[in-house]
Amino acid sequence: MRILVSFKVTPDFEALREADWAAAAADGVRTRYARRILNCFDESALELALRLSEALADQGGAADLSALSVGGRETEPYLKTLQALGYGRAARVEPEAALDFAPAVTAALIAGYVQQVDHSGLLLLGCRSGPGDSGTMPFRVAENLGWPCPTQVVEMAPLADERVRVACMVDDGLLRATVRLPCVLAVGNAVVSRLRVPTLTDRLAQRGKPIAVLSAADLGVDIAEELSRETCALTGLEAIERARPGVIVHGETPRAKAQALFAEHLKTRMEKL
């Protein structure tokens, strides 16, 4: 089974200071100085793919794992780690322009890589990633490829004949389903959420193995042209007022305070519970 996981490396938004966010509404978000992290859903996907390939091996089958990221040099430490963990192919597509709010373009690049270069039949993607947090990427890629795409996948197990049994945390419960390859799996809040760690020996064994760097042109995608056809453009950013007011409730006696608290703040809220 050929399995491809596409992952995103983003700035760690939690590492930015309150002042940075307050300024962002006017000046744009300066994430250049924040450390980078792996998108949490992609991290689940990467570890789940490793476990899927182990399960296949237990069944007497075999898996061929590859990893892709649409991103610059900041993705290379992660690609190297994945090579050390057993991902046989590691590649990145140089974005050439900021694609954070252009998921249609990223989807075209991922689909292009699958169809023209990688030829995997199972594509795993995290269900959502920042900064856009649209949650649309897996479906966009699935539409490009014409493949089915179970969503909010939290478990996966291989079945015979190029099929996978998945568990999906959908809006009305936990849905188990069998899906036939080729397909996209959109990975959600899986319990498995951390990628295993390769030893120094594992890393040394993979040293020197190349990471393929492709351009959009290599995949037949004209980024400038695609961007000009953007249908949902970001036009501005607003700050979110986070601090809580800390309003003091007054009263002459504890009973009076409790009564004021209830009447002024809690009665309506409790009715809505």
């Binding site: 649209s134 936990l174 389903a177 809580r244 209830f262």
Partner: protein
């Protein structure tokens, strides 16, 4: 602008979808109203109930295969072409995100997911959603049609007005040509429980300032009386005033209640993190300097056990009615 709210009645979430859409239509949408609801259903016996849920007067019914979002997507994409529907509105959640995205891709439109609000004008459609991991709100302009918008999962209809008089405009059957289902051997189970602390919408937490095990028990009793889930801070658990499974914060549970009352806790970071996603926080603490007071919506500066017991009495009396 021709527009429709979409209800997938083949899922168990139909009522939730309808309530969310109703709330959004009233408070989240400005400009041209959405005139009709398209209800997809499978079982004949559901028709009346589903029509009754619709958030608009005008309703169109479409019969389809159960649990086949791909069929809904095909139907809507065809509507966009044949009837020039320019805006589809979906409830939030996994299904809404999927359908909004796929319809937009299929029909050459634009998609905005988890919308906090949208503004609909004859030739302009803008929406707002959370971005950067909820650190900012982004404003977006949707320039292609149909615009497919799924609403933020937090929408619900509070204080629903008297039910509308619905008018069913059409009832079509789209079950033919359903084609091969993309998935086989479907089994739906209830989602595994995550525990009362994680799921509770009303939480009362006792901190070390409660003073003793008896006091912690009194706070727990007051919580029960008000129908709240009871939690504690780490010092309370480590003093064995309450079991460890009541722990909120680091090494315990991270909660997200709509309403959280904190009794006698100073609000150290290890605990605050466990409640910071709460909708509304009430702090009861005699010390005005305690960090919890700054991090609360409302604070009462008094002994926590006394106040929470008074409050429980008032709440009970209010519920029992005059």
């Amino acid at each position: 602008m021709r527009s429709a709210a979409i209800l997938d009645g083949t899922l168990g979430t139909a009522a939730r979808q309808a309530q969310a859409l109703a709330g959004f239509l009233r408070e989240g949408l400005s400009g041209d109203p959405v005139a009709e609801t398209l209800i997809f259903y499978h079982d004949e016996r559901d028709r009346v109930r589903l029509v009754g849920l619709a958030p608009t007067r005008a309703v169109r019914l479409v019969r389809t295969a159960t649990r086949r979002p791909d069929r809904i997507v095909e139907t809507l994409a065809a509507l966009a072409t044949n009837e020039q529907t320019e805006l589809f509105l979906f409830a939030g959640g996994a299904a809404g995100t999927e359908m909004a995205t796929r319809v937009a891709c299929r029909a050459g439109g634009a998609v905005l997911t988890d919308a906090l609000s949208i503004e609909v004008r004859p030739s302009l459609l803008v929406g707002r959603k959370n971005v950067y991991s909820n650190h900012l709100v982004g404003r977006f302009e949707l320039s292609a049609r149909p615009a497919c918008v799924s609403i933020d999962a937090g929408w619900s209809d509070e204080g629903r007005p008297a039910s509308l008089e619905h008018r069913v405009l059409s009832d079509t059957d789209a079950t033919d040509g359903a084609g091969l289902a993309p998935f086989e051997d479907l089994e739906l189970a209830a989602a595994p429980p995550t525990g009362d602390l994680a799921e509770g919408r009303f939480l009362v937490v006792a901190g070390y300032g409660a003073g003793s095990r008896e006091h912690a028990d009194r706070v727990a009793a007051a919580a029960r009386r008000m129908g709240a889930v009871f939690g504690v801070t780490r010092p309370v658990a480590m003093n064995a005033w309450a079991p460890m499974d009541r722990l909120v914060g680091v090494s315990g549970v991270r909660t997200a209640p709509d309403l959280c009352i904190v009794v006698g806790a100073s609000g150290a970071p290890a605990f605050s993190w466990g409640i910071e996603k709460a909708g509304f926080i009430v702090a009861i603490n005699p010390d005005e300097q305690a960090p919890i007071v700054r991090n609360a919506d409302v604070a009462v500066l008094d002994d926590g056990v006394t106040i929470i017991e008074e409050l429980a009495r008032i709440v009970s009396a209010d519920r029992e009615g005059p």
